[in-house]
Amino acid sequence: MIELAGLTKRFGTKTAVDHLSFQVRPGVVTGFLGPNGAGKSTTMRMMLGLDHPTSGTVRIDGKHYRELAEPLRNIGALLEARSMHPGRSAYNNLLCLAQSNRIPERRVGEVLDLVGLGAVAKRKPKGFSMGMGQRLGIAAALLGDPRVLLFDEPVNGLDPEGIHWVRNLMKALAAEGRTIFVSSHLMSEMALTADHLIVIGQGKLLADTSMAEFIHQNSRSYVRLRSPEPVRLREALTAGGLAVAEGPDGVLEVDGASTEQVGDLAGAQGITLHELSAQRASLEEAFMQMTAGAVEYHAHHGSAAGPVAAGPDAAGQAADGAEPRGPRWSKEG
């Protein structure tokens, strides 16, 4: 359990984290989302006692970080891929950390095997790929077999097999009753991993809800229907007080209803359905919707600067009429 109470961090006049209060509960994977500059890293660093809060507190299982006698046994963290000495072997890097918290040396070999670095334990991280560095960081986080784990962008640099492994690792750790707090920019990855979400923007809490609830609240959801008897179905639904819209390819779309409701209505009339499915937006779409106002710096905006600028005149190419290319969801509205 991680508890934040009124956590605030100012750098000069800039408020990076602004009265943040939330709890990260054990037993589930909690995703931590926010645009760049939202204060995610600062928050995670304060959780680990690396940054001092300007005001407010963070408690790990009820204690301040500095009160933890051997913190690696309580909380493990993957903060940045490179937080190891490049000239000291992977094994010795972990050994230093283990010794400082009186973790038996045997454990170092165990976690290295666990993350798949057993064969390169004696090599220096200097020559590691980004993915290997990431695995080493994960090994460090697991070293003390902690009840609380923080992961900042855990899949950075991993290949699909590694990504899959990390995802299952986090879920399995949560299933053991541990507290798992993961920050990531990869919405599609988060959607597969996290059960609960904490979203911040410009240092403030924007949402603290379950994944399903978050998507539900921040995007349109509807029931999609296919039937060989569309006319009858439509009538039955309208009679049942539901608003029906025509979709592409003879699909019917019903807003504001559950599949149960629609299934019961159709069933009562004996109408055959070839599809009855709930359609929800992706986490990405919901996230974009929610943080639209809180993004600190945009790649490009407005119609003037389409992603592909006009070719240089010297190249003799006509400027292609760069049409506004808004985010996908805005088109689908």
Binding site: R45, L48, G49, L50, D51, H52, Y65, R66, L68, A69, E70, P71, L72, I75, A77, L79, E80, R82, S83, M84, H85, P86, G87, R88, S89, N92, N93, L95, C96, L97, A98, Q99, S100, N101, R102, A140
Partner: protein, 259 residues
Amino acid sequence: MASATAVLRSEWTKIRTVSSTVWTLASALLVTVGVSAGLCALSNATFDDLPEPERLTFDPVLISFAGLTLGQLAMVVFGVLVVGTEYSSGMIRSSLAAVPRRASFLFSKIAVAGALAFVVGLATSFLSFFLGQALLGEHSTSIGEENVLRAVVGGGLYMGLIALFSMGVTAMLRSTVLSLGILVPFFFLVSQILAAVPKAKEVARYFPDQAGSKILQTVPNAMNSDPAPYGPWAGLGIMVLWVAAALLGGYLVLNKRDA
């Protein structure tokens, strides 16, 4: 709190598992001993060509530490790297997450690295002394003479303190490059040059290296150096004050600043 011995063990592992420890300390020893030996041999051969005042105040002990001016730079590099690579590698975040009490972290590191530097310093100064005396022939002295043992042990202390001072400064600056960029020119150039400039040397003699190296002299105003307003132990005391200030500053910065 994390037990002190556990943190000390961890810091010892950190030091012994990087190659920079070996090459910095080895160069400190080899450079000091080598250069000293060379100068001793040279002095012995050309003793009669030395100017009169230098011949009168000839200090066979001090001359056998002549390589220290250069060798101490390796000690500076050692001290800087011990603390600086924590920052340059990002290891500092892992370290402080493991040992959140920053005093415990910093002073364990400094204790381990300082002890190691002192041991290597002592070995260096004894080697330097005996080899130097062997090469000085008739101008040599022996360890039993007055003040000689003090000077030789002092040489070891001096090297240890130089390393500690560098660690403190690096903890304040939080950067390997910056610390090396300041400390190496300071000890190798600035301090030496200022010490030779009339007015400036009044100040320069209170610099850590100038004050600390007083302990290496066994003859008053050895090698025709300027008389200092403090004795050998007082000089070393001045250096200790510098070191204490640097370490305190380093601790305050580490404690105050975000990692």
